[in-house]
């Protein structure tokens, strides 16, 4: 048919049946997006949180892998060799400085691994001590948060789900623990447990970890679960009223099933966020206990104990205080920023 530009006639070519390809295209559905994927997308969009996450990952990986190939160990006093007189030139080296023995070796053409942060007053490589201290601090922070999570989640969900008298009792215990001064309790418990645990652990695997770290974990398990339990109780209380919980009850589901499949998955974002924010506070507590001398046992370094030891030589070797303090700040800051980013990304109430 001739095409008259002024014609109002319908162009039949526009009304051809769709080809199979076009049909395929039309019925295509948006891929199902889950809550978790949405949250991750929002998290990666947030630059601050993303950078913090990378910093955390870098610090964690380096604290795990560097000690594996580093030529120095955190407890070897480099000046003390069996069968040789003590070589004091290894003690108190400045960053990148070499002892007289090492300088002699270098003149002979041997390669000597540098001391990036120098050595401490016992002649131990300070860099590896910092890395090891970071490892201990991170491990304490991580495991303490897990303990807090497990205890808090169990008691909180029981209190929220059972309600009534059980709820009353658990929440009054929480109130009592809240009303006690934290730090006083921590110091008291730490010093008492050092005495009692020290002998009990002898000869077991746990001895290597040190009674102080174990007592630190116990302190966290005893004192710091309260806010987590309160949080989860509140969540469970509101979720329990949802109709899908009633629907599960109507099908005959038991309490354990309801908690496991309906309640916990629906408050998992809150749980992850508060655990992420719990880690820095655990690291802080550990550092400060170590600083007071209640933390890790002697040759084992932690960032707090390194800072505390550095206090003695603060005028001559101030970098020994500055470095662990910087590392603590970096870890705590990036964990906090990451936790905030997680909350922004996953908390449904902040989405709008």
């Amino acid at each position: 048919m001739a095409n008259n530009p002024l014609s109002m006639q319908v162009n039949m070519d526009d009304f051809l049946p769709a080809t199979d390809e076009e049909k395929e295209y039309m019925v295509q559905m948006r891929p199902s997006s889950t809550f978790f994927r949405d949250g991750c997308r929002r998290l990666f969009k947030n630059k601050v949180a993303f950078v913090s996450m990378i910093v955390i990952i870098l610090i964690t990986l380096s604290s795990i892998f560097i000690p594996m190939f580093w030529p120095y160990s955190y407890k070897t006093q480099l000046g003390v060799q069996p069968g040789h007189p003590v070589d004091p030139s290894f003690n108190n080296l400045a960053p990148m400085e070499y002892s007289t023995t090492e300088q002699a070796a270098m003149e002979r053409g041997e390669s000597v691994f540098p001391h990036f942060f120098g050595t401490d007053d016992h002649g131990r490589d300070y860099f590896i001590r910092i890395v090891y201290g970071t490892r201990i601090s991170l491990a304490v922070g991580f495991f303490a948060s897990i303990i807090v999570l497990v205890v808090g989640m169990t008691l909180g969900s029981i209190a929220g789900f059972m309600g009534g008298r059980v709820d009353m009792v658990i929440m009054r215990i929480v109130d009592v623990i809240y009303s006690l001064p934290d730090m006083l309790m921590v110091i008291l418990l730490a010093s008492v447990m050092r005495e009692t645990l020290g002998s009990a652990l002898e000869g077991t695997v746990l001895q290597a970890i040190g009674s102080n770290i174990i007592s630190l974990f116990i302190i966290f398990a005893l004192l710091y679960w309260c806010s987590m339990a309160r949080l989860i109780r509140g969540q469970i209380l509101s979720l329990r009223e949802q109709e899908y919980v009633l629907a599960a009850e109507a099908t005959g589901a038991k309490a354990g099933w309801i908690i496991k499949t309906h309640l916990i998955p629906n408050c998992i974002s809150v749980i992850i966020i508060s655990t992420a924010l719990q880690i820095p506070s655990a690291i802080f507590t550990e550092s400060f206990l170590s600083f007071l001398g209640l933390g890790v046992n002697a040759p084992m370094p932690s960032l707090g104990s390194l800072a505390s030891e550095a206090l003695n030589g603060i005028t001559s070797y101030s970098y020994r205080l500055v470095i662990p303090a910087l590392v603590i700040s970096l870890i705590v800051l990036s964990l906090n920023l990451f936790g905030d980013g997680l909350r922004d990304a996953f908390d449904p109430k902040l989405n709008q």
């Binding site: 109709e243 009633l246 599960a248 005959g252």
Partner: protein, 328 residues
């Protein structure tokens, strides 16, 4: 209709459900949500339950299923009284519930196949994952859902589709008895019709028995064989669907039926509405005697004295009113 001498599938006897309401530090008074309600549902029948908001319809449904522990009275299902935990567990495989709100009754973190498969998982009804999947797909097909949607989440669906998911879940255990708690009131009218017709078809195919709770009288009339009317936790009238529309006896039922909108304006104008005075009284502070007397145009002294008996006035037509004979 089924024969009268057959044993009823669900026999509700003097059911009471009181909720304690704290009024002071140690004081609490009972809120009589359901007060002495008795009725029977025959196998294959649909009993419609209507009443105003807050009159205890939903509570009746939930108490029958023992989601709330009944304060008093009993439910006899298929000749077996539901008392012990074992009875309840058994009862839960025979009876299910469809909820009002298709948004809050589906867990947002579960896929459609997990939601529908939940009753199967709870009762360990499938021996292997393949059988489970087949049953879920069959259920989805039965309620008119596309099987491609099995791995999607509930928030990706419209209200009508969500309600279909809820219905598929309630059918998973092959129940005999379903309590439908206002299953269409959250849907718009065109979807309501589809869902109601689906309920009808499912009943024919699977021989289901429904307790259909609603406040929309037209919907109830369409689907029910018999209709029960509740007011303030008590049952005031119970009769065949047509009978209750054509010859309502209780003044409250009359008023309710006169309020049903009629699509034809001529008939609507000819029909006189019977407006009720005042509001529904608080169930915490229910009037003495007949609960309806404060709003009843025919109330007398006697109505304040005693609660009228729920008695059969004609074949299968029960009413609770002192003045049935005089007023009608």
């Amino acid at each position: 209709m089924a024969q009268a001498n057959e044993t009823p599938l669900v026999d509700v006897r003097h059911l009471k459900e009181y909720f304690p309401v704290n009024t002071g530090f140690f004081k609490s008074i009972p809120l009589k949500a359901v007060d002495d309600v008795s009725f029977q549902i025959k196998r294959g029948e649909t009993l419609g339950l209507v009443g105003e908001s807050g009159c205890g319809k939903t509570t009746v449904g939930r108490t029958i299923l023992h989601l709330y522990e009944p304060t008093d009275g009993e439910v006899v299902y298929d000749g077996r009284p539901i008392k012990s935990k074992a009875d309840i567990d058994w009862f839960r495989t025979k009876s299910t519930m469809v909820f009002q709100d298709p948004y809050s009754s589906l867990n947002p973190r579960m896929t459609v196949s997990d939601i529908i498969g939940e009753p199967l998982d709870v009762h360990h009804m499938c021996s292997n994952p393949k059988e489970r999947e087949e049953r879920i797909l069959a259920l989805m097909d039965r309620v008119g859902l596309n099987s491609e949607h099995a791995s999607r989440y509930a928030h990706e669906f419209s209200g009508g589709q969500r309600q279909r998911i809820g219905i598929a879940r309630s059918l998973a255990v092959n129940p005999e008895f379903i309590v439908c708690d206002e299953p269409v009131s959250a849907l718009d009218v065109s979807i309501q019709a589809q869902v109601i017709n689906m309920f009808d078809e499912l009943q024919d195919e699977m021989g289901l028995t429904y307790l259909f709770i609603a406040h929309d009288l037209l919907v109830v009339r369409h689907i029910s064989d018999r209709i029960a009317v509740m007011y303030l936790g008590k049952m005031v009238e119970l009769a065949d669907a047509e009978e209750i529309y054509d010859h309502p006896l209780h003044p409250y039922t009359k008023s309710l039926i006169s309020a049903v909108p009629i699509p034809d304006p001529k008939i609507a104008r000819a029909n006189k509405r019977i407006p009720l005075q005042g509001d529904i009284p608080s169930p915490l502070n229910a009037p003495s005697g007949c609960p309806f007397r404060t709003r009843c145009p025919h109330a007398t002294e006697a109505c304040a004295q005693s609660m009228p008996e729920f008695k059969e006035v004609s074949d299968g037509h029960f009413v609770a009113c002192h003045r049935t004979a005089e007023v009608n």
